[in-house]
């Protein structure tokens, strides 16, 4: 089978450009960006049509500048430079999509927790509206699933108290089973547990209700 002359020329040009990058030719990064960035953008836009084009452009620029700065990351014997850049940028784009998805899941979870908290759950307690009851039930189900996934039983109770706006030490102390201890000790332990819960919520990408 004969090689496509255009592809062959392109591979030869790529090899020459890569050799200049490796040799430290100061003009090679400019040629790399000028030649490969538009092609890469075209390919990425076709592959990720629903992704924000500005995000895609940043990703494409990231891939191209990485190779400009560290050309030995790419091995010309293994693939065409355009293919390497496309795969590298596609991986970054998929990671960005996954991050966005995770953030969205956290936001849904946060919304569910907030809506299910007794002091804020206006939808779920609106007994006169069947649709509101349905939404309330769905929120409750989502909240429980999310809490079970991330917290043990005691912490689930604490999270719900936090989101309910509960501030009384004795309520938390009862939930923790430490209400028999002297009040100063209860306060100390309750604070420690609340700090721990808030830190865990932050790690999960959720700001506690006291943090706006």
């Amino acid at each position: 089978m004969r090689a496509d002359p255009l592809v062959t020329v392109s591979r030869a040009a790529d090899r020459a450009l890569h050799a200049r990058l490796v040799a430290g030719d100061p003009t090679a990064p400019s040629d790399l960006i000028d030649t490969h960035l538009p092609r890469l953008m075209d390919r990425l836009r076709r592959k990720f049509p629903r992704m924000d084009p500005w995000d895609l452009e940043e990703i494409a620029m990231g891939s191209v500048t990485r190779i400009a700065m560290e050309p030995t990351r790419y091995d010309p014997a293994r693939s065409a430079l355009g293919t390497y850049l496309y795969l590298d940028a596609s991986r970054d784009a998929l990671n960005a999509i996954a991050r966005t998805k995770r953030r969205a899941e956290h936001e849904i979870s946060l919304e569910a927790v907030e809506l299910s908290a007794p002091t804020r759950n206006t939808l779920a307690t609106d007994k006169g509206d069947p649709e509101a009851r349905l939404v309330g039930k769905e929120n409750e189900r989502m909240t429980q699933a999310w809490l079970v996934k991330h917290f043990d039983q005691m912490d689930r109770e604490l999270v719900q108290l936090v989101y309910a706006g509960e501030r009384r030490t004795e309520t938390f102390a009862r939930a923790l089973g430490i209400d028999h201890l002297p009040l100063p000790e209860q306060r100390r332990r309750v604070k420690r547990h609340k700090d721990r819960i808030n830190a865990r919520l932050r790690r999960l990408g959720i700001q506690g209700p006291d943090h706006g």
Binding site: P26, D34, M69
Partner: protein, 124 residues
């Protein structure tokens, strides 16, 4: 070939990496109060070529290695090597100065215009 708008955005991206001339020369241009046309004029390059110049690797090393880098960029884009060298040296010196000292030096350089000299410690 990339279109002008894409190249300008690539320059903005490259500005975040000290590897590129964009990082050095655009900061310098900002402190000198030069816009892109002013910077092109100072470098003696065609405005249309400026983004491609800024996307070059920043010349490194000292002596012959630095000179070779500058000459290569200059030859490629039809610049005068001396003007490019002066710009890089001024920008490098300014980048290394504390902001207050840089402002004093810039003010002095503006007083001396049009012939502004690089500061004495400006050897890259």
């Amino acid at each position: 070939m990339a279109d002008d708008a894409l190249l300008r955005r690539a320059v903005a991206h490259a500005r975040g990496h000290p590897f590129f001339l964009a990082a050095l020369l655009l900061d310098w241009a900002d402190r000198e109060g030069l816009d892109m046309a002013g910077l092109a004029d100072r470098l003696g390059c065609a405005p249309a070529d400026l983004p491609r110049v800024l996307l070059c690797r920043r010349p490194t090393g000292t002596g012959p290695a630095f000179r070779a880098d500058v000459e290569r960029i200059a030859a490629r884009f039809g610049l005068e090597p001396l003007r490019l060298t002066q710009a890089i040296r001024q920008a490098t010196a300014l980048a290394a100065m504390p902001p207050a000292a840089a402002e004093r030096w810039l003010a002095a350089a503006r007083d001396r215009e049009p012939e502004s000299e690089p500061p004495p410690e400006a050897t890259p």
